[in-house]
């Protein structure tokens, strides 16, 4: 590893853990807060959808959580990272350092939170009779890697663009939280969506095949193969788009901020 790459890696590590530390500092429940939020959200959605609306899905609670946890990583990262460069203007104007570490450390920090929630999911699965399977050993790192690449590509793109186009912060918030969330099979499995919408959702929404992949892994013990193609394609596409746009735009950051 050359010196620049080494330093970028070190910065990423230091910033990720600084954020983790700051998040839990002076709180009584600390790390538990990372679990309480998605679990509470899961519980509310479970009661409303399963008991009130009476969605007819076997083990709905687990179907929900297996998708909700990875989705939360995605959504939090996008909403937090879109302003990564914009909100660190003072630093960017005064010090030269690899700037991509700013959004990436937030992605990783939220990735750690997600990783820490996996054991909770595994316990809940085990209680319901889904015993841990060796395919999980392959599937978990694989899906984490795909999701990480997808998120990093997207945030690098939107965070760079946000420096010149601040509306993007509001746009991201609205689009991801209000539209993308409902168009992704999180609170419902893809199987109950009428066939005519299936292909559209899968083809246009990388998160659809990804969360379905997480479900397949935990509930069917399948390491997703071809079905993950859209997520893989989008991840690759955004990785290219993100790094190209960042390279193109980052020179102007110090002047534009």
């Amino acid at each position: 590893m050359n010196r620049q790459a080494r330093r970028a890696y070190d910065l990423l590590y230091l910033l990720t853990f600084r954020e983790l530390k700051l998040r839990y500092q002076d709180t009584i429940f600390g790390y538990l807060w990372s679990l309480i939020r998605p679990l509470l959200q899961g519980a509310v959605l479970y009661v409303v959808l399963s008991k009130f609306i009476r969605i007819d899905v076997e083990d709905y609670g687990l179907v929900l959580l297996a998708a909700l946890f990875p989705w939360t990583w995605f959504q939090t990262s996008l909403t937090l990272c879109v302003g990564s460069f914009t909100s660190n203007g003072a630093l960017i104007k005064k010090v030269y350092f690899p700037r991509f570490v700013l959004p990436f450390s937030t992605v990783l920090n939220n990735g750690v939170q997600f990783a820490l929630s996996i054991p909770v999911l595994i316990i809940l699965l085990a209680i319901s009779g889904y015993t841990p399977n060796w395919t999980w050993l392959v599937g978990i790192p694989y899906l984490i890697a795909v999701e990480a690449v997808l998120i990093m590509g997207i945030v690098l793109f939107i965070a760079s663009l946000d420096v010149y186009f601040r509306d993007l912060e509001h746009l991201t918030d609205v689009f991801v939280g209000l539209i993308w969330f409902y168009l992704t099979p999180v609170i419902y499995p893809l199987s109950i969506v009428p066939d005519k919408y299936h292909d559209w959702i899968l083809a246009l929404n990388p998160m659809a095949s990804l969360v379905e992949g997480w479900r397949d892994l935990f509930l069917q013990n399948q390491v997703p193969g071809l079905s993950m193609l859209p997520a893989l394609a989008f991840a690759g596409g955004f990785a290219v788009l993100g790094s190209l746009s960042f390279r193109q735009m980052q020179g102007g950051f110090a002047d534009a901020l």
Binding site: R3, R6, R7, D10, L11, Y13, L14, L15, R18, K21, L22, Q25, A90, L91, I92, K93, K94, V95, Y96, F97, R166, G251, A254, D255
Partner: protein
């Protein structure tokens, strides 16, 4: 970037210009004003501002260069280009060696974490690897003289303590080329003395230094050579004494002119009915 500039040159600017466009985007940053100013917005009218105009400069290895000039003459822009923070609009920057820019002390310090943790992160931010930063951390802590405060969150720090830690980190990141923008006068007289000695120490070890300052006394003290920047151009160059004297003489002449103008104005007012 090792290239054609020759081994004894640490830093070279070749015909460097920097233009900022003070665009109308600012005025038209929301929908209402965008619609109100639609013709101008569409024509993308911009007021160009030339911060640096075709500046060529060579800093030799181990040399210490002072840059003086009035506010807004492009000194800080020059330093930012040298540090790689912003690219020149045209022209070329070449650096032979590791550049550390000290444009502000304590950039990125976070008030909620301890001085020690901040120092480590700051050192990596300024150019060290984590392993190197861990190695020099004891020196940084000792130099800062913060005692037990080093393990307190930085929100407890006085501004003097804040800058002392910032300076301590900055001088321990082992630059080959050190760029300093007005950050020498920190802490009390005793700590300032220590900083000055440290800078002299770096110089005697062959570190190349570029110093931007308004403190005309420190230029002859620290620099082998000085340039005067005015309105984005180099208007004088030579020994520090020479350049500083020339600059001060011009400032004085300018002041005298103003006083004279004002007196004439008063006389004119008194005469007028």
């Amino acid at each position: 970037m090792r290239s054609d500039i020759g081994g004894d040159v640490a830093l070279a600017l070749d015909g460097v210009s920097k233009h900022y466009s003070l665009s109308l985007q600012k005025e038209a940053s929301d929908l209402k004003s965008m619609l109100l100013h639609l013709p101008r917005f569409l024509s993308n009218a911009r007021r160009p501002f030339v911060a640096l105009d075709n500046v060529s400069l060579r800093v030799r290895r181990g040399e210490s260069l002072g840059i003086v000039g009035p506010n807004g003459s492009g000194k800080s822009t020059t330093l930012r280009i040298m540090a790689g923070i912003t690219p020149p609009t045209s022209g070329k920057l070449t650096a032979n060696g590791r550049v550390v820019g000290l444009l502000e002390l304590g950039s990125g310090f976070h008030p909620q974490i301890t001085g020690r943790e901040n120092a480590l992160l700051n050192a990596v931010l300024l150019g060290l690897t984590l392993a190197e930063a861990r190695e020099v951390l004891p020196d940084i802590v000792e130099f800062s003289e913060l005692g037990q405060f080093i393990d307190q969150p930085m929100r407890m720090y006085s501004s003097g303590m804040f800058f002392r830690l910032g300076f301590s980190v900055a001088v321990h990141v082992q630059p080959e080329i050190l760029l300093i923008d007005e950050v020498l006068a920190v802490g009390d007289a005793q700590f300032q003395e220590k900083c000055m000695n440290h800078i002299h120490g770096l110089r005697s070890r062959g570190v190349t230094l570029v110093l931007v300052t308004h403190d005309m006394l420190s230029v002859p003290k620290f620099c082998d050579r000085a340039v005067l920047l005015e309105q984005g151009r180099i208007t004088d160059e030579g020994t520090p004494q020479q350049v500083v004297h020339g600059y001060l003489a011009r400032v004085e002449a300018l002041l005298a002119l103003r006083v004279e103008e004002q007196q004439q104005l008063k006389v004119a007012q008194a005469v007028a009915p």
